[in-house]
Symmetry: C2
Subunit: 84 residues, 2 copies
């Protein structure tokens, strides 16, 4: 794997894990007022496509990062709908 | 380009544009209390790496989506620091 692919891999993994601190914050504050429903919806779709991409390429780091990322995105989306 | 690459391309573009509704919301409400600094910081790093990745591959859709995405991420980061 060349270094360009490594950059893409790290970028995809960072996108997948970026929601973790957001989820922790929501679980603590139970507040999602300032979070955009459009942002979390489009971002959830993006993470889901990364998961599909990882599965099709059988790329474990992308699959793992985006599997957990997608679960986090769905939980944040549910909290956004519940505590809007 | 095969369909797997198209999925990755759409995923990268959706990640880049997902911050637009969030930025509009912040500009309107001037409030970023519920947004996690960790989330926006890691996500900004991810978008920056996608931009580098797109430039190295000379892939216009990834460059364009993540160029605007990165600018949006930086503005949101500045607002987060200003209106914390």
């Amino acid at each position: 794997m060349d270094y360009i692919n490594v950059i893409g891999l790290v970028a995809a993994a960072m996108g997948g894990i970026s929601l973790f601190p957001q989820l922790l914050k929501i679980l603590k504050t139970k507040s999602t007022k300032d979070i955009s429903l459009g942002m979390i919806s489009i971002f959830s779709g993006s993470i889901f496509l990364w998961l599909v991409y990882g599965i099709l390429l059988n790329n474990s780091p992308i699959i793992i990062a985006n599997f957990f990322g997608f679960i986090q995105a769905l939980i944040i989306l549910l909290y956004k709908i519940k505590y809007k």
